[in-house]
């Protein structure tokens, strides 16, 4: 057992003997895992968004700049009484300015615009679509657009149809893309292990001459490959987290309201596990051929 752990330790330590090739491999594995994770995160968020909007229609309303405050407040109150309304998020020009200020950060001081905000009244109204009335979204769109003081209304059913098409396309591409990325990881890690074996051919031949069994020679290489896979996947997940947080701050504001969620834990674990398995398998094939 001591020998087993010693070989595992040696596998990790040997990564530092030729740090540059290993670092380049790690970068390639990280980039590939990042691309795979990004694709998975995109599909996950698209699917979540579609589920969230299942049976719902979302209308983004912008009032004219000169619309009276009392009129808009009355219209918001009227909207809130409608039985189909699921959610209404509304902003006065000053509230919209505050959100914009938060989005732009401390570097942009918009306080001088307080009380004379150039932004219009806005609202995001989400309605439950009556299942028996297919024409309901269109009629509601026309009704909202014709409200006094309303400048434009954007409606999402068309976007949802587009999103569904993209999701279907994404699901169709998921397997081929995933297999391609995994093959890429396998090739990169396998080639690095082969290079390591070539660089250490003398050591391997001496180990064989003093009676080392195959597993004794191969285990450190498998551990090295698995470590590259694990660290690469970990770095990729960390990069994805950074990207998700950056995008969430930028996109989850009016008028976009796009909520970007991180990969669910099972998906992240599956990504890391798959990377490790592929890296170990590639190392095993390389070590079997050369070791």
């Amino acid at each position: 057992m001591g020998m087993f752990f010693r070989l595992i330790f040696r596998g990790v330590r040997d990564l530092f003997r030729h740090p540059w090739p290993q670092a380049l491999t790690l970068a390639a594995v990280t980039l590939t895992a990042f691309l795979g994770g990004l694709f998975a995160m995109f599909l996950h968020n698209l699917e979540a968004e579609l589920v969230r909007h299942q049976g719902k229609a979302q209308y983004q309303m912008f009032w004219k700049k000169d619309a009276p405050e009392a009129l808009v407040a009355a219209q918001w109150a009227d909207l809130r009484t409608r039985p189909e309304l699921a959610e209404l998020v509304a902003f006065t020009p000053d509230q919209a300015l505050t959100v914009m200020q938060e989005t732009l950060g401390a570097g942009a001081d918009l306080s001088w615009l307080r009380g004379k905000s150039p932004l219009p009244y806005t609202a995001l109204a989400t309605f439950r679509i009556p299942p028996e009335d297919a024409d309901w979204p269109r009629r509601t769109f026309e009704a909202l657009k014709s409200l006094e003081g309303v400048a434009t209304v954007h409606v999402n059913p068309l976007q949802m149809d587009l999103s569904r098409s993209v999701l279907e396309l994404g699901r169709t591409l998921l397997w081929p893309t995933g297999v391609f990325l995994l093959l890429l990881v396998a090739l990169v890690v396998g080639n690095t292990v082969k290079l390591s074996l070539l660089a250490r051919a003398d050591e391997v031949s001496i180990l064989r001459l003093v009676g080392a069994k195959n597993w004794y020679i191969r285990l450190p290489f498998l551990v090295g490959g698995g470590t590259l896979g694990l660290v690469g996947a970990g770095l990729a997940l960390a990069l994805l987290k950074v990207l998700q947080q950056s995008l969430a701050e930028v996109l989850n504001v009016p008028p976009l309201w796009i909520n970007i969620a991180y990969l669910p834990l099972p998906h992240a674990a599956a990504l890391a596990g798959t990377m490790v398995l592929v890296a170990v398998a590639a190392s095993w094939v390389a070590a079997r051929d050369r070791g």
Binding site: E203, I206, L209, G211, A212
Partner: protein, 234 residues
């Protein structure tokens, strides 16, 4: 311990060994000699499984070489210590790291391994160089490292290819003493050399003369030498 019958080996059409037969019992000490190209190194390489058997039979420490598979090679090599003509040591590693390799492969516990290394390095006058990278050693010192690595496990058979080739006479005698200690404790030793002084330094050793595949009138390129050395037959 080592039994060879009608062993032949050729590179292409050229025979290097033809119908070689001999046996070495437990604790036997045999010198392989002959001119360059006589097949000394080839015979040693066959005996530790680095070259395949082409004809004849050979048994080393109970391992039948004609039936040797890749999977069984490690077991053979754990019973046989080999000193190579070109040392085959890892130059970037220290003396201690080189010598400990066969003990690590066998899973020998670290304290026991350290004790063995200390004793062997002392016997070969290497104890002051234990932590020195082998690349910084002189040729003779590197050769002693290779010898230390071969004997540190206390193998049943030691195969040595010109182990005194880079050593002065004093160190050669000291090395032969080390080998004699092993052979007196039951290890069979087959040592290739063409140095006549070395041959005479171990009076109890038998000498097998190889002739590079040229067949003598008796049909063997070495004299039949069964039981020439050692206490019992393998």
């Amino acid at each position: 311990m080592v039994r060879v019958r009608n062993l032949s080996f050729r590179f292409g059409a050229r025979y290097v060994l033809r119908n070689v037969s001999f046996s070495v019992g437990r604790g036997g000490f045999v010198f392989l000699t002959g001119p360059s190209g006589a097949g000394k190194t080839t015979l040693l390489r066959i005996l530790h499984g680095a070259l395949p058997m082409q004809g004849g039979q050979a048994t080393v420490a109970g391992h039948e070489l004609a039936r040797m598979t890749k999977g069984r090679l490690p077991a053979l090599r754990r019973d046989v210590g080999v000193v190579f003509q070109d040392f085959k040591i890892l130059p970037r590693r220290t003396v201690r790291e080189n010598v400990i390799l066969p003990l690590e492969v066998r899973g020998v516990a670290r304290p026991k391994a350290e004790r063995r290394i200390k004793a062997v390095l002392h016997a070969l006058k290497l104890d002051g160089l234990a932590e020195c990278p082998c690349a910084q050693l002189a040729g003779g010192e590197q050769q002693r490292v290779a010898i230390a690595r071969a004997v540190v496990t206390g193998p049943r058979v030691i195969l040595a290819d010109e182990p005194t080739g880079n050593l002065d006479w004093e160190l050669s005698v000291r090395l032969l003493d080390v080998f004699r200690q092993f052979h007196l404790h039951g290890t069979s030793i087959i040592m290739a050399t063409h140095n006549r002084e070395i041959l005479s330094a171990v009076p109890e050793a038998a000498v097998l003369r190889l002739s590079g595949g040229e067949v003598d009138p008796g049909g063997y390129d070495v004299a039949e030498a069964a039981g020439i050395s050692g206490r019992d037959e393998a």
